[in-house]
Structure formats: structure tokens, C-alpha cells
Amino acid sequence: MPLLDRNGWKPESWARDAAAGAAIVPFDQVEAVLGARRPGQRIGVDLPNDVHPNALLPWQDGLDFVAIAFPRFNDGRGFSLGKMLREQGFAGTLRASGWIIPDQFAFALHCGFDEVEISEAQAQRQPIDQWLQAPALIGETYQDTQDGMISIFKRRRAAAEAA
């Protein structure tokens, strides 16, 4: 499935195959797969969006990758989930996987996602320039974000203190 990040389309380096060198496995197999991990093998997990982030705590240090499911673009659970995983210290690659639209790309980046995996049909309909342009359309946020934006509230204080 087409994969992109804030720089453009990118090649897939993971496989949904427990035997692969960079393997994405279903959430319910994560314990077993981590137990049988080969030296040097990288493990990622497909996380449904109805799992609480606490459930990943026991394993997250052993994981290099988490893909959070977006079954429908208007199901926003994944945004909270991603942000909470970042807040609880997950430092690997975070992917939004399924149906999200360019207009949500900035939100995904702000919540700590690195990349987005969409369907072939969607990639046809929404070419890469739409994805790359979307996050630049709103250049200010009232929230601190995981991708390094400082909230307007804080920037105002900084400006007032500098003055």
C-alpha cells in the first residue's frame, strides 16, 4: 500500500510477516513474536484503535514500529492513541494506517505520527502534492505538538518577555 511521510512517497521497509527482518505482527501475537525474536530482527505491531495505550506498555521498549489503524477517516481515536503512545515514551516509528485524508495529515504529524499508509485508490485520487501542501496551510497551533510546534499561548509569553 502506498506510504508517505512529510517528504513524499517512500518505499515500504516493513512486511506483515512474522519471519521478515522487519516484521509487523498483529497485536495479539506481539508477546509470542517478541519472545521468539531472532538477533537483529526488528518487530512492529498493528494496533487496532480500540486498544488502550496502557496495553502496549509491557512491550513498547522492544518495538521499533507501531501502525495504528484508521478504519475510517472520521474515526479519530487514532489521534489520541498516537499522542498517548508518544507521551508514554514510545520512540520508534509511528504509522497511521488505513483511511486518513490529506486534511488530517497535519493533525497526524502533530500527534506524533511519522508516516501514513493509504489505499492505492486513495493515492490515485489524492496525489502527493496535496499531502505535502496540506500541513503548510495552517502554520500556527494553539497546542504544543509532538512534531515540535510551540503553542501560540507560549509564543505569546515568549514574545511578551522578550519585549
Binding site: 488502550h52 477517516f73 472520521n74 474515526d75 479519530g76 481515536r77 489521534f79 489520541s80 492513541l81 499522542k83 498517548m84 507521551e87 508514554q88 485524508i101 486534511d103 488530517q104 497535519a106 493533525f107 497526524a108 502533530h110 500527534c111 485520487r125 489524492q126 496525489p127 496535496q130 496551510l137 495552517i138 502554520g139 500556527e140 497551533t141 494553539y142 497546542q143 504544543d144 505538538t145 501560540i152 499561548f153 507560549k154 509564543r155 505569546r156 509569553r157 511578551a160
Partner: protein, 558 residues
């Protein structure tokens, strides 16, 4: 009033440009209609029965004359010369075209207004007491808090695709005029035993098909912890709110299904793990916002006004207006004037562009340039000198805006109903008009006293019928409009939901039934002028039940 700084300005301008670009991608097919839908809704654009409808945010109902004039200009240029003020302190235009929407947004941005999050499954426009900064019983003006929430919730990356819409209301007064108990989150500004100011947080109220009174989840939240605590509530809701059934997706259902205790436990657990200090704003920032709402430059005036007393003694219509439409101001010599948008026989909440301009002129000259929109769909001139009430009244008479019925039986809330709305199952506006005509006699209205009738044209309850002293719900029964009547609802301090009086009745029977309810009340009430709601609470529904029976012809002698 709050003024945008360069940051606020840029966000609103960028949002306009973004929407223009989104419309373009819808037209070229990049976005499907399904994908475009929430994007346009988050900019207040609905597809209604006959046309698009654009809902403009009036945060916490406060605006100045320049903004009101711009709303009038938009009504002339892009609508049919009028606008409709809503129960959420917004204004709606019923006839704009999709391709004009970005230009309208641009015109709004020119006067620091927008349509951001006036619809969609996100945190909606924040409402507040329309007598903020006026009422004597205020702990603190709720608008700085509401403005802080407006900014924090704007384009929130985590909470823009919630299970369902999310409404927040704030009041700073002992008497709740913002209906906080029937919002997703209601916030009351309170003082604790130590005299510190903070917030009581109420979650899970709401109307719609499953009306509920909200539960207090925090008795006292220190003021500077607000945003982090709201984030905790929103997170629990975003993750756990139901998404399998649109009608069970509001936070009230989650609170109800989990139970208040379990819901609170989840919120507190999330609150404990959040990084509060990174989320809460510096008190200096809240102080910056609050400074915009500092009391205006009131003059030192005596209590009362001989000028007004003499004018009212000469003119009984002015005297009536003064008795009914004035609200006491905390400053001596001032008053707040309610301008009723409920003329007898008119659609509740509508104002023409000429009326909007008249209101702007009056506000500029007589009310320190400020106007408020109330959730009862009226306008308030918050800071009028008592001495100048006769001039204000004369100007309102000229504009056709001097109905002396604020809070009375003809001050009816009604949703747009089947005349405009694609969700409606029955008409609302014509019902309101017919009832108002029955009580057109101003003496009779005043005899009846405070009585709130609220009408919804479908189960979604936009007309707040559940909390009407008399509530009317229009349904479709096998193709025929059928109206259920409830009594005993109240949105205020002792919030309560109305109870159904009996089986539904036909549209033509509604005005009769309402008249008979009012007549029954007048017979039952205590001589000390007991109000309608107090009487209903005392005697219950039984004495009112016969009114739903069709009037019987005179019985033959036994």
C-alpha cells in the same frame, strides 16, 4: 471585548484559505463528498432542505457594532436580507451558495469572526452567560475562560474527529443562565472555602433523544489546571465514546453507561498521567485574555433615573418595556436591555439586515459598543444608562424591535423545523407563531408572568424542549405532524427535564392546549404570584392532563 492578536488573525486567515482550497479539491474530485462533509461542517456549512446553510460563530455571544454591521452586509450580499440567531449564540444564513462560502469567510475574518467548529464532530463554539459582566451575582466574568477554551479547542489535532459534537458552556454567576447542566461539559466559576476562584466541572448533560442532566465530576478545579483537565475528559471521551451508533455517541451516554464514578475514575487516571504543566497556560496568558474583558469605563451615576421614571409615567408602552425587558446592572444608573427577536407572529430569532444595523447603531451610541446574543435567541444591549432607556426604546420601536415580552409566554424558542431543516419531522416556527398570536395581548402576557415555551421540530431537540417550562416536540406520526407536550423542564439552577403530559396531539390543537395549560396554571397558582414552573413543581402534572382531551361539547343533562 477580545481582540485578535497577530497569531489569532493568522489562524483565522489561514483557515479561510484552507477552506477555499478544500472547496477546490472537492470540485476537482480529489475529495469525495463523504470526505468533504466533515471539512465543510467544521466550517459551519450545512446542506439543508432548500440550500446550504452557513453558521457563523459568535463566541460566548459577544459582538460589537462593527461586527453586527458586517453580519448585516453578508445578509444583504449573500442571503435574502436576514439572518437567524440560534440557541447557541450563533447566527445562521439560510441561503448562501457553496462557491460564495469562502468569500463570506473572508468578510468575517475582516471583522475577527469565523465559522470554525460551528458544526461537525468537534468542540463547538463555546457559549456563556449573556449577562456576563453585567450581573451582580457574578463570581467572575465567564468570557475569559470561554475565550481560552475557544483558542485551545481551535483545530485541536487530537479532538477534531470525536464520536460526536461536543458543546461547552461557562457561567460565572450564582444563577445559571447558560444552561450548563445540559451541555457536554458545563463549567461553573465558583469560590472554594478558602475564597479562591476555580471551576466546578459538570459532564454528560445534554438534550436530544436521550436528555440527561450532567454530573459533577470535580467540585473545585484550581483555575490554572483547566486545560489539562479538559484534555483528560476529551481523551476519555475520544477513546471510549461510542462510535457504533450515532444516537449513542454523545459523552452523556458514556457517562451514563460507565456510571459517573467509573467515568470520573478514568478521567482522573488520565489526568494523572498527562503532562499538565505543558498543557495549562501560564496565568499571565489568562490574565492577558482577561484584560480584554475588564469592565468598560462606566460613569459614576446615581441609582435610579428620574428621566426614565418620568418618561415611563407618560408612556404606558415604555413603562411595560421597562418592566419586562430590563435586567438589573451591577453598576448604579445602568441596565441591560433585552431586545426581543420574538415579535408576535414572526419567526423566533430572525433579524433583518436593517434591524441588525439599527442594533449596531444603538449599541454604538448607547451600550458602550457591545451586543450579546442570548441562547433564548434574543439580543442584549448590556450597558445602557437608565437615563437613555427612553431613547433606546424609541429607536427600537422604529426598528420594529420593541416587543416587551422578554421571558414571557411569547418569548418562545423554536428550532428552524421543517421549514428549513432536513432533519426535522414537523414544523416549529408556525407553531410558535400561532401560540404567540393567542397571547398577543401584552396585559395577558404580563399577568401570566415568566414562562418559557420551547419547541423542537424533531427528536434532536435543537429547540431545547426538554428544558422548556412548557416543551413542545414535533414528530411525524404516519405522515401527520404530531406534537408531544412536556411540562416542568427548566434549564437553570434547579435544572430539570420536562415530563410528558400525555399522548401527542395534532398541530391545530397545540395553541388550544397551551392556552388551557396556562389557564389551568392561573387557577392553581398561589396568590403571591407563584411562577408557572413553581406551580408545576408543587402540584405535579395531573391537574394539567385534561387539557389534552378535545374540548367536549356541552354535556346533555343527566
Amino acid at each position: 471585548m477580545y481582540r485578535y492578536d497577530e497569531f489569532d488573525e493568522r489562524v483565522v486567515r489561514q483557515r479561510v484559505a484552507q477552506f477555499r482550497e478544500q472547496v477546490g479539491r472537492r470540485i476537482d474530485g480529489s475529495l469525495t463528498e463523504e470526505e468533504f462533509l466533515p471539512l465543510r461542517l467544521m466550517n459551519g456549512l450545512y446542506l439543508q432542505l432548500h440550500a446550504y446553510m452557513l453558521r457563523v460563530a459568535i463566541p460566548y455571544g459577544t459582538l460589537d457594532s462593527r461586527q453586527m454591521r458586517q453580519l448585516a452586509l453578508i445578509a444583504d450580499r449573500y442571503d435574502r436580507g436576514y439572518g437567524h440567531f440560534t440557541t447557541r449564540q450563533n447566527i445562521q444564513y439560510n441561503w448562501p451558495r457553496l462557491r460564495d462560502a469562502p468569500d463570506i469567510l473572508e468578510m468575517l475574518a475582516d471583522v475577527q469572526m469565523h465559522c470554525i467548529q460551528t458544526s461537525g464532530n468537534c468542540i463547538r463554539n463555546v457559549t456563556a452567560d449573556h449577562f456576563a459582566g453585567v450581573a451582580a451575582d457574578e463570581v467572575e466574568d465567564p468570557r475569559p475562560t470561554a475565550e481560552l477554551i475557544r483558542q485551545w479547542s481551535t483545530l485541536h489535532p487530537e479532538f477534531s474527529f470525536l464520536p460526536r459534537k461536543f458543546k461547552i458552556a461557562v457561567t460565572g454567576s450564582a444563577e445559571d443562565r447558560a444552561a450548563v447542566a445540559v451541555h457536554d461539559i458545563g463549567i461553573r466559576i465558583v469560590r472554594n472555602a478558602a475564597g479562591e476562584v476555580g471551576y466546578r466541572i459538570i459532564v454528560g448533560g445534554g438534550l436530544g433523544r436521550t436528555p440527561m442532566i450532567g454530573k459533577t465530576v470535580r467540585e473545585f478545579l484550581p483555575k490554572d489546571e483547566l486545560l489539562a483537565y479538559l484534555e483528560a475528559i476529551m481523551r476519555v471521551y475520544n477513546l471510549e465514546g461510542r462510535r457504533d451508533n450515532k444516537f449513542k455517541a454523545r459523552v452523556k451516554i458514556l457517562v451514563h453507561e460507565l456510571g459517573a464514578e467509573a467515568f470520573i475514575a478514568r478521567v482522573e487516571e488520565e489526568y494523572a498521567r498527562l503532562d499538565g504543566p505543558s498543557l495549562n497556560v501560564d496565568p499571565a496568558e489568562l490574565a492577558r485574555i482577561a484584560a480584554y474583558f475588564a469592565p468598560p469605563a462606566f460613569e459614576a451615576l446615581p441609582e435610579g433615573s428620574a428621566v426614565l421614571d418620568q418618561a415611563a409615567a407618560r408612556d404606558p408602552d415604555l413603562a411595560r418595556f421597562v418592566r419586562v425587558n430590563l435586567y438589573p446592572h451591577k453598576m448604579p444608573g445602568y441596565t441591560a436591555v433585552t431586545v426581543s427577536l420574538k415579535p408576535i407572529g414572526g419567526p423566533p430569532g430572525d433579524a433583518t439586515s436593517d434591524q441588525m444595523r439599527a442594533l449596531a447603531d444603538i449599541a454604538e451610541r448607547f451600550s458602550l459598543d457591545e451586543l450579546r446574543v442570548t441562547h433564548i435567541q434574543n439580543i442584549v444591549l448590556p450597558h445602557v444608562k437608565l437615563d437613555e432607556v427612553p431613547q433606546v426604546w424609541a429607536a427600537l420601536v422604529e426598528a420594529g424591535l420593541a416587543s416587551a415580552n422578554a421571558g414571557l409566554v411569547t418569548d418562545i424558542i423554536a428550532c428552524p423545523g421543517m421549514d428549513y431543516c432536513s432533519l426535522a419531522t414537523a414544523r416549529s416556527i408556525p407553531i410558535a407563531q400561532e401560540i404567540a398570536k393567542r397571547f398577543a395581548d401584552p396585559d395577558r402576557q404580563q399577568l401570566v408572568g415568566p414562562l418559557g415555551i420551547k419547541i423542537s421540530g424533531c427528536i434532536n431537540a435543537c429547540g431545547h424542549h426538554h428544558v422548556g417550562h412548557i416543551g413542545i416536540l414535533g414528530l411525524d406520526k404516519a405522515g401527520i405532524e404530531n406534537y408531544q407536550i412536556t411540562l416542568g423542564g427548566d434549564p437553570g439552577n434547579e435544572a430539570s427535564l420536562g415530563e410528558r403530559l400525555g399522548p401527542g396531539i395534532d398541530a391545530e390543537q397545540v395553541p388550544d392546549a397551551i392556552e388551557r395549560i396556562v389557564d389551568t396554571y392561573l387557577e392553581l397558582r398561589h396568590a403571591d404570584g407563584e411562577s408557572f414552573i413553581d406551580t408545576v413543581r408543587r402540584v405535579g402534572l395531573d391537574p394539567f392532563k385534561p387539557v389534552l382531551q378535545p374540548k367536549e361539547p356541552a354535556r346533555a343533562a343527566a
